[in-house]
C-alpha cells in the first residue's frame, strides 16, 4: 500500500465522521425541541401568585431586590449551609414597590462548637432576628450604613431554608416581630438547596393583616377561627420578586462571560487549542438547569412531606386527647347537674331554698383547647411541599422525555 492509496481512505473516514455528527446533532436537537414543547403549557408551578385580596392591605405589592442583596444573601446562606443563616435587609418602599438595597448577616451565635451541635446552631440562628443583642447589632449597623448613604431603613429580614421547610413558629414569630415594629417589612426566603440547581430561589413573604390581628390576640381556638374565617391559606402572602441592577453593574456584567459570540471565530488549529481555551459557560441561561439528577430533590421533598404528615398526626392526637378530656369533664358536669336538680326537687318538696345550679363552674375546670395554629402552619407547609413536588415532577418529566427522545430509536 502506498500513501496514495491511504489518502482516500482517510478522507472517507472523515466524511463518515462528519456525516455521523450531522445525523446525531439534529436528533439531540429534536429531542430538546419536544421537551420544550412539553414544558411550554402552563405547569402547576407557574401558577401566578394569588395576590388578590391578601395583598390589598399591604403597603407594597412587589419586591425589588438589588443585585448586591441577591449576591450577599446567596453568599451568606450558602456558606452557612446546612446551618440556617439569617440577616437583616434595608431599603425603602415607594410607589407600591419595596426596594431592598442592602443586607447584612446577623452574628452567628455558634463558634467552634457549631459542628457538633449543628441543630442547636440552626435553632439559634433561626431565632436570631428577634434576639435583643441582634436588635442592637442591627441598629448599630444601620446607623453606620447611613453614613455611607445606604438606605437606613430596616425593611425586614432574610433566612435560608432547605427545600421550602420554612413554615414554622420561628418564621412566624420573627415576621410578627418585624411587622409589629414596622408594617412595611418583608421576609426574604432563600432556598439554598433549590438554588444549587442553577435557578435562584428567592421568595418574599409577609403576614396578612388578618393573621396579624389574630396572632396578637394569641388565641387560635376553633370558635375564633370559625368566626374570623381565618384559614391556613391566609397566613401569609407571597410577593413577586424582581432583580434590579445599577447602570454600573450592568456595564460590569457585560464584561463577564456570556453567550459565545455570534461572529465567525478563528478555527482552532489543534484539539489542544480547544482544551486550553474552553468556552466559559454563560451565567444566564444557566446550563446547570439541564442537569438530569434532580430526583434526590424530589426524594427529599417526599421525606419532608412525610414528616409533615407525622406532625399533622401528632397534632390530631393532641386534639383528640383534649376532646376526650373535655367529654369526660362534660359528663361529670351533667351528672353533677342532674344530681343537683334532683336535690333541688327534693328541697322544693321539703320547702327549702334551692341550691344554686351554676356552682359547677367553680367545681369543674374545663381543659384548655390546644391552639390550632400549629395545625394551620402544618397545613400551609404541606401545601408548600406539594407545590414544590409539582414543580419538581414537571421538571423531571420534561428532562426524561428529552433523554428518551435522544436515546431511543425513532
Amino acid at each position: 500500500m502506498t500513501k496514495v492509496g491511504q489518502f482516500p481512505l482517510r478522507a472517507a473516514v472523515k466524511q463518515l465522521a462528519v456525516s455521523r455528527i450531522s445525523r446525531r446533532l439534529p436528533r439531540t436537537r429534536a429531542a430538546l425541541l419536544t421537551t420544550l414543547d412539553r414544558i411550554s403549557p402552563k405547569s402547576p408551578e407557574l401558577e401566578i401568585l394569588n395576590m388578590t385580596d391578601a395583598l390589598k392591605d399591604a403597603p407594597f405589592q412587589a419586591v425589588q431586590v438589588d443585585a448586591l442583596v441577591a449576591v450577599k444573601i446567596n453568599k451568606h446562606c450558602s456558606s452557612a449551609f446546612p446551618t440556617t443563616a439569617t440577616g437583616a435587609i434595608v431599603g425603602m418602599d415607594q410607589n407600591g414597590v419595596l426596594e431592598i438595597t442592602n443586607s447584612f448577616g446577623f452574628p452567628s451565635t455558634d463558634g467552634a462548637s457549631s459542628d457538633s451541635h449543628q441543630n442547636d446552631a440552626s435553632a439559634a440562628a433561626a431565632a436570631a432576628p428577634r434576639q435583643k443583642s441582634n436588635q442592637t447589632y442591627q441598629n448599630e449597623m444601620i446607623r453606620h450604613l447611613k453614613e455611607v448613604n445606604v438606605d437606613a431603613n430596616n425593611v425586614g429580614w432574610y433566612t435560608s431554608v432547605t427545600l421550602g421547610n420554612f413554615v414554622n413558629m420561628n418564621f412566624i414569630e420573627n415576621q410578627v416581630h418585624y411587622q409589629t415594629a414596622n408594617n412595611a417589612t418583608v421576609a426574604l426566603v432563600y432556598d439554598a438547596s433549590k438554588s444549587s440547581q442553577g435557578n435562584l430561589a428567592l421568595r418574599a413573604f409577609r403576614l396578612t393583616t388578618s393573621f396579624m390581628t389574630a396572632f396578637k390576640e394569641g388565641k387560635f381556638t376553633t370558635d375564633i377561627l370559625q368566626k374570623s374565617k381565618l384559614s391556613y391559606k391566609d397566613i401569609f402572602a407571597e410577593l413577586p420578586v424582581t432583580i434590579h441592577n445599577s447602570h454600573l453593574l450592568t456595564s460590569f456584567l457585560h464584561q463577564i462571560p456570556g453567550l459565545p459570540s455570534e461572529e465567525d471565530i478563528e478555527p482552532p488549529v489543534s484539539s489542544a487549542d480547544l482544551e486550553r481555551d474552553q468556552v466559559q459557560a454563560p451565567l444566564h441561561p444557566s446550563i446547570d438547569m439541564l442537569d438530569l439528577a434532580i430526583d434526590p430533590f424530589l426524594e427529599k421533598t417526599c421525606d419532608l412531606l412525610i414528616e409533615s404528615i407525622e406532625s399533622h398526626y401528632t397534632d390530631l392526637n393532641n386534639f383528640q386527647f383534649y376532646q376526650r378530656q373535655l367529654g369526660r369533664e362534660q359528663t361529670k358536669i351533667s351528672q353533677w347537674q342532674a344530681k343537683r336538680k334532683a336535690e333541688n326537687a327534693q328541697r322544693a318538696v321539703a320547702k327549702q331554698a334551692p341550691l344554686p345550679e351554676d356552682e359547677w363552674q367553680r367545681l369543674f375546670k374545663l381543659p384548655q383547647e390546644p391552639s390550632r395554629l400549629e395545625g394551620m402552619l402544618n397545613a400551609k407547609q404541606v401545601e408548600q411541599y406539594s407545590k414544590q413536588v409539582d414543580g419538581f415532577t414537571a421538571g423531571i418529566s420534561a428532562r426524561m422525555f428529552a433523554v428518551r427522545e435522544n436515546l431511543a430509536p425513532q
Binding site: 478555527p267 484539539s271 390550632r372 414537571a394 433523554v403
Partner: protein, 360 residues
C-alpha cells in the same frame, strides 16, 4: 472559576518595613475577589455624595476577607465603605467609623480579617499613599501582612477595570515617609463558586433589559430558557457541519475530533431497556406528584372540617345543655371531631403507601 484573570508574571513582592524579630515574607501574593465584594464596591460608587461639588469623585472603603496561613493567598470576601473627605492638601478618613464598622463586620464573620482598602478610581496619588500607610500600619492596619489596595475604575464611559496593589515604603527622608510609598501591582482574579452561580445568573438575566430589571422565574421557565439556548447552539453546530458536508465551510480536524469525542459520550443503550426504564420512572414521578396533591387535598379537608360549623352538632349541643356557653362548646367540639375523623381517615390510607413511593 476565574472570571477575570490578569496575565502577568509576578516574581516577588516588595519588602515591608523590617522590624526586629519579624521576618517578612517575599513570596508572591495572589488576590482573589468574590463577586459580592465587587458588587458592594460598585454599589458604594453609585452612592457617593454628588451634591457637594467639593467632595472627591472617588469613595474609599475597607476590604475584609481571609488570608491563607502562609499569607500568600488572600480572598476578599466583603467590604464596607468609609466616609472620607479630600481637600487640596489634606485627606480625612473617618478612623473611628472604620474601627467600629470593622468590629461589627467581624462580629458577624469571626473568621475574617481586615485585608486592605479599595477606591473607585484607578488613580494613585499621595493621598493614596497616606491611606495605604494607614491601612498597613501596625496598630490600625494589617501589619505584618501587607495591606492590599484595590482600585476599581467606575468611569461610566469605559469598561470597569480592577487593579490590585501592595506597597513598599519609599521616601527621600523620614519626614516624608508617611505620605509616600511604592505601589506594586499584584495578580488578582475574580472568583465565584458553584453556589454563587445561581445568584449571578439571576442578575445577568437583567443585563440586556432596558430597565435593568428581571423577574425571578420558576424552575420550569428557567429550564425552558436553557433548552432554547442549547437548541440555538446545536443549530449553529449543525449548520457548520452541513456547511462542511456541502463543501461551503472549511473543514477543521480539531473541531471534528472534538465533536466526535463529545458525541461518543452518548451511551449506547438497548431501546427496550430505555423504554422500560423510562416508563417505570415516569410512573413513579407522576405517582409522587399525584400523591403529594392528594395529601394536600386531604390536609385541606382536615383543616376545613376542623373549623367547620357543623349544624347537627350545634343543635344537639343546644338540646343537651341549657347554658349558651355549653351549647357553643358542644358545637365546637362536634366540628372538631368531624375534622379529626376526616384527617385521620386520610392519614391511615396514606401512611402505609407513602413511604414506599420514593424508594422505588
Amino acid at each position: 472559576m476565574a472570571a477575570v484573570t490578569e496575565r502577568f508574571m509576578h516574581l516577588s513582592r516588595p519588602l515591608g518595613p523590617q522590624q526586629a524579630g519579624l521576618q517578612s515574607s517575599i513570596a508572591p501574593l495572589g488576590v482573589s475577589i468574590q463577586p459580592q465584594a465587587i458588587l458592594s464596591i460598585l454599589d458604594h460608587a453609585t452612592r457617593r455624595d454628588v451634591r457637594d461639588a467639593s467632595q472627591p469623585s472617588r469613595v474609599i472603603g475597607a476590604l475584609v476577607g481571609t488570608r491563607s496561613e502562609d499569607g500568600t493567598e488572600v480572598e476578599v470576601r466583603s467590604c464596607f465603605g468609609i466616609p472620607h473627605t479630600e481637600e487640596e492638601d489634606q485627606v480625612e478618613v473617618d478612623v473611628e467609623y472604620q474601627k467600629n464598622m470593622l468590629a461589627l463586620t467581624l462580629k458577624a464573620n469571626p473568621r475574617e480579617a481586615l485585608l486592605g482598602w479599595y477606591t473607585t478610581s484607578l488613580e494613585l496619588n499621595s493621598f493614596s499613599a497616606l491611606i495605604q500607610n494607614f491601612f498597613g500600619s501596625p496598630d490600625t492596619g494589617t501589619f505584618p501582612h501587607p495591606a492590599i489596595h484595590l482600585t476599581v475604575s467606575t468611569d461610566p464611559s469605559t469598561a470597569i477595570e480592577t487593579r490590585c496593589y501592595i506597597s513598599a515604603p519609599v521616601a527621600v527622608n523620614s519626614e516624608r515617609a508617611a505620605e509616600s510609598c511604592l505601589f506594586m501591582q499584584v495578580p488578582h482574579k475574580m472568583l465565584y463558586g458553584d453556589a454563587e452561580r445561581s445568584a449571578l445568573g439571576a442578575i445577568s438575566a437583567a443585563k440586556d433589559n432596558e430597565n435593568r430589571n428581571a423577574p425571578l422565574v420558576s424552575d420550569i421557565e428557567a429550564l425552558g430558557a436553557s433548552i432554547e439556548q442549547t437548541i440555538g447552539l446545536l443549530d449553529r453546530v449543525s449548520e457548520w457541519v452541513n456547511g462542511v458536508l456541502d463543501e461551503d465551510e472549511e473543514p477543521n480536524a480539531a473541531l471534528a475530533q472534538f465533536l466526535m469525542s463529545t458525541l461518543s459520550l452518548a451511551p449506547k443503550v438497548d431501546p427496550e431497556q430505555i423504554e422500560h426504564d423510562f416508563n417505570n420512572h415516569i410512573q413513579d414521578v407522576l405517582m409522587v406528584g399525584y400523591l403529594a396533591n392528594t395529601i394536600r387535598t386531604q390536609i385541606d379537608l382536615a383543616q376545613r372540617l376542623a373549623t367547620a360549623n357543623i349544624q347537627i352538632g350545634e343543635k344537639e349541643g343546644d338540646n343537651k345543655n341549657e347554658g349558651d356557653k355549653d351549647g357553643q362548646r358542644g358545637g365546637g367540639k362536634r366540628g372538631g371531631r368531624g375534622g379529626r375523623g376526616g384527617g385521620r381517615g386520610g392519614g391511615q390510607q396514606r401512611e402505609p403507601r407513602e413511604p414506599r413511593e420514593p424508594a422505588e
